[in-house]
């Protein structure tokens, strides 16, 4: 009983165990589910969610929420081919430029929240709408293909048999965990999320950290947008949309409180894998689009009821 009690109080571990259980059961019952190729595929998909959720984790830890992450991914995926100059065979210039743009968009979210006093949920929702309209005006409605070499390698390349996207995710994970637990700014994010007034009176600047956290979220959404573009080789309007819910779900499944101030990225990682695995299961079941959508929503709700206990409001 004691072990179980401890487990219930450690959401990251609980989520991890759930992931393993789901994988084991699925690989035993479904042909091809546990193969290395399939696992790699799942990890690649999880990498995209995991990287958007990195920014989302930071924002939620600080007591905010970023509903524009999906739109920023879409912006990245559509604009990158337009911004990659032909004279640069590596494609790195395009990546740097687009990441700067993504970060700037995030910064604008932060500016709205910090300087204009717009609640993050409204600010980022408005930003998402704004970007949606802007994209259609700027880029038209059609899909764009990518030729940027670096992007394609990130999306599809491998190093020692491990997908480049998964390696990138690992790098992001280490960086974010270090940021939260080993850098002063992480401690300040957590304090601001738990009690902004006390944190501010302790000398932590709300304005500065709001700007930083939303800029970081924009940056990570940009990175995820590049990955999804490289994987699909095509960008289109709406490509990033599903990632708003999945990134938030991954964070909350990982035991981070949606109210801020408590949590860790170490939980978001298994959270992302769990989401992808269950989505993959749904796909295998071969249901219609409607049923898939229902199962997806129900699963997330169900998982939250099990492991998101920490996220409850009282």
């Amino acid at each position: 009983m004691n072990v179980l009690g401890k487990l219930m109080r450690n959401p990251p571990l609980l989520t991890l165990i759930l992931v393993v259980a789901v994988l084991v059961i699925a690989s035993l019952t479904l042909r091809g589910f546990g193969s290395y190729g399939h696992l790699r595929y799942i990890m690649e998909l999880a990498a995209v969610i995991g990287i958007v959720a990195a920014g989302q984790t930071l924002v939620i830890l600080m007591g905010g929420i970023d509903l524009s992450a999906g739109a920023i991914m879409t912006v990245t995926a559509i604009m990158l081919p337009l911004l990659s100059p032909a004279f640069d065979p590596t494609g790195l210039i395009g990546i740097v430029v687009i990441l700067a743009i993504a970060t700037l968009i995030g910064f604008l979210n932060g500016a709205g929240a910090a300087w204009l006093g717009v609640p993050p949920i409204i600010m980022t929702l408005a930003m998402a709408t704004f970007l949606q309209g802007l994209l259609v005006i700027v880029a038209g409605g059609s899909a764009v293909s990518v030729t940027n070499a670096a992007v394609i390698w990130l999306g599809q390349g491998r190093l020692f048999g491990i997908s480049a996207s998964v390696i990138l995710w690992a790098v992001v994970s280490v960086a974010v965990i270090v940021l939260i637990h080993r850098m002063p700014i992480g401690g300040r994010f957590l304090a601001l999320g738990a009690n902004p007034v006390a944190a501010q009176l302790s000398g932590v600047s709300v304005t500065r950290h709001t700007l930083i956290v939303f800029a970081l979220s924009g940056f990570f959404a940009g990175v995820a947008g590049i990955l999804i573009l490289g994987m699909n080789r095509q960008g289109y309007v709406g490509i990033g949309e599903p990632y708003v819910l999945t990134s938030i779900a991954a964070v909350v499944l990982g035991g981070t409180s949606i109210l801020g101030g408590r949590g860790t990225y170490a939980g978001t990682i298994p959270g992302a894998i769990l989401l992808v695995t269950t989505t993959a299961l749904i796909t295998v079941v071969n249901a219609s689009a409607g049923w898939r959508s229902i199962m997806f929503g129900t699963l997330i709700l169900g998982l939250l009821l099990i492991s998101g206990r920490e996220a409850r409001s009282r």
Binding site: M183, G187, L190, N195, A198, S202, V204, S205
Partner: protein
């Protein structure tokens, strides 16, 4: 009044704890019809917990509540209301956007055909308002009222339900003298109408003039349950604190005045206007006055937490005011808020995380936080302030006094030269109070400037070298050491002329 009647509400050996801390240990209390019963005790003695148990908001760990001598099964707020118990708590239960009448009737509206009967509501609300002397229009949104008036609405809301038992938790803390007078009359009248009243207050004179019987709580135990007739103030205090009040304060020390730390002219912030003020290292400067006269704005303005302006200003030898909290910290200012739960501490975080928060980034190795050095720092702080136990525990598990020590201690690594303290002993047990007083003297002796805002006038008298008395945002009197007496401070706060005080 005699006590041979049977009690309306009786609590029998109630016990309750939070986060493993026992707050009430076997407390019994009986409320009789027509008797005004005082409940005394320091903050943290368990008064609020007892009220919450009596009103059904909390469930006791042990013991039971009896109504009219009958044991209650499932005792919740609904059952308490049904039994005629009404509570006026310090945390108001009002809705800002709704009108006075709608607030008063909330939860017990008169209905006609399922709809609120505004005519009946108006009549009954007006009746309740008349009892407490509320003359504002009944359709006025409560959000437009000053705090004291809202408190009166809260009391009217309790009376609207025609209670048999009325529990008043520090009802006069935000009331003007006039409003407090109205309330006293009301309490007497209700008692004569055989309402049982439980009256919680810190104002001993108020208690002695109004109440018949007293229960005193100290550290969760009843130390007295007796009639108030023939009991003097001194012995009440002794029962509350468990020692003679005289020992509380250490003897006053005067330090050699050091360099000038703060000098402002024409200072304004929030409701503060036209304050000229200067203070030197080694001083303890008191800030007094009635509640809410701009004292807090004065500290927050100096601290850069609210916009402030000054004709001329110099802080720690630099011209100008701090424009942000960060800038204030850089100038050597530190601020300890009065409301440590909402403003002073991150309650859900660990003691360690709270202690390190202001100085995050001070202990670094290779660009990362040096966890080992941080641990040592935290351990030394905990040792210096005598905070016992695991520093990984959440701060909310600590007692009020220990929480306050954390709120103070977290600034020490920054070695501030100016300490702005907002009521640092509010809700703190007597032992910790004494420790804090000694610390303040120690700070001043080390050459820090201590600015002490306090609602506890004896504190100002015993500790301060100088006291500024605020009224309506202005400094109305500056008292030097020899002239600091309770009478002088209170007199100045009430607007009495100097001659009248003397």
């Amino acid at each position: 009044m005699t006590s041979d009647r049977s009690p309306v509400v009786e609590a029998r050996v109630l016990s309750k704890g939070f986060f493993g801390n026992p707050v009430l240990k076997g407390v019994s209390i009986s409320l009789l019809a027509g008797r005004v019963h005082a409940l005394l005790g320091e903050n943290g003695a368990g008064k609020s917990t007892l009220i919450n148990l009596l009103s059904g908001a909390l469930v006791p760990d042990a013991g039971e509540v009896l109504i009219d001598g009958k044991s209650t099964g499932r005792y919740d707020p609904k059952a308490a209301r049904a039994a005629g118990i009404a509570v006026v708590q310090q945390e108001l239960s009002l809705t800002a956007e709704l009108s006075i009448a709608e607030n008063i009737g909330l939860g017990a509206y008169p209905l006609r055909l399922g709809l609120i009967d505004y005519k009946a509501l108006r009549e009954r609300a007006a009746e309740a308002c008349a009892l407490v002397g509320l003359t504002e229009p009944l359709d006025m949104p409560v959000g437009d009222l000053a705090l004291g008036r809202r408190q009166m609405v809260e009391i009217a809301k309790a009376l609207y339900r025609k209670p048999r038992v009325l529990i008043l938790d520090e009802p006069t803390s935000s009331l003007s003298a006039h409003e407090a007078g109205v309330l006293s009359g009301l309490v007497r009248r209700l008692a004569s109408e055989r309402v049982a009243i439980l009256y919680i207050s810190h104002r001993l004179d108020e208690v002695r003039s109004l109440c018949d019987h007293v229960t005193i709580l100290k550290d969760g135990i009843v130390t007295a349950d007796q009639s108030l007739s023939g009991v003097d103030g001194q012995s009440l205090v002794r029962l509350m604190v468990g020692r003679d009040p005289g020992d509380l304060f250490p003897p006053h020390q005067t330090n050699k005045a050091g360099a000038r730390r703060i000098a402002v002219e024409g200072f304004a912030a929030g409701m503060v206007r036209d304050v000229n003020f200067s203070a030197n290292a080694g001083e303890i400067v008191g800030i007094g006055g009635l509640v809410g006269q701009g004292q807090e704005d004065f500290l927050l303005g100096l601290y850069g937490a609210i916009p402030a302006s000054a004709g001329e200003a110099e802080i720690s030898g630099r011209p100008g005011l701090a424009t942000s909290v960060g800038a204030a910290n850089a100038l050597g200012l530190a601020y300890v808020p009065a409301d440590r739960k909402k403003e002073g501490l991150v309650l859900t975080h660990s003691i360690a995380a709270n202690l390190i928060l202001p100085s995050l980034g001070q202990k670094m190795k290779n660009g990362m936080r040096d966890r080992g050095a941080e641990r040592n720092l935290i351990a030394s702080l905990a040792k210096r302030l005598d905070i016992k136990g695991d520093t990984g525990r959440a701060v909310q598990a600590l007692s009020g006094g220990n929480q306050q020590k954390v709120a103070l201690a977290k600034w020490l690594p920054k070695t501030p030269s100016i300490l702005l303290l907002n009521d640092p002993t509010r809700g703190v047990d007597i032992e910790t109070k004494r420790e804090i007083y000694l610390m303040l003297q120690g700070f001043a002796a080390e050459g820090k400037l201590v600015i002490l805002l306090s609602s506890d006038t004896p504190e100002l008298v015993h500790l301060c070298d100088r006291v500024l008395v605020f009224s309506e945002g202005r400094v109305v009197r500056s008292l030097e050491r020899g002239a600091i007496t309770e009478e002088a401070i209170v007199g100045a706060a009430m607007g009495l002329e100097r001659s009248e005080v003397a």
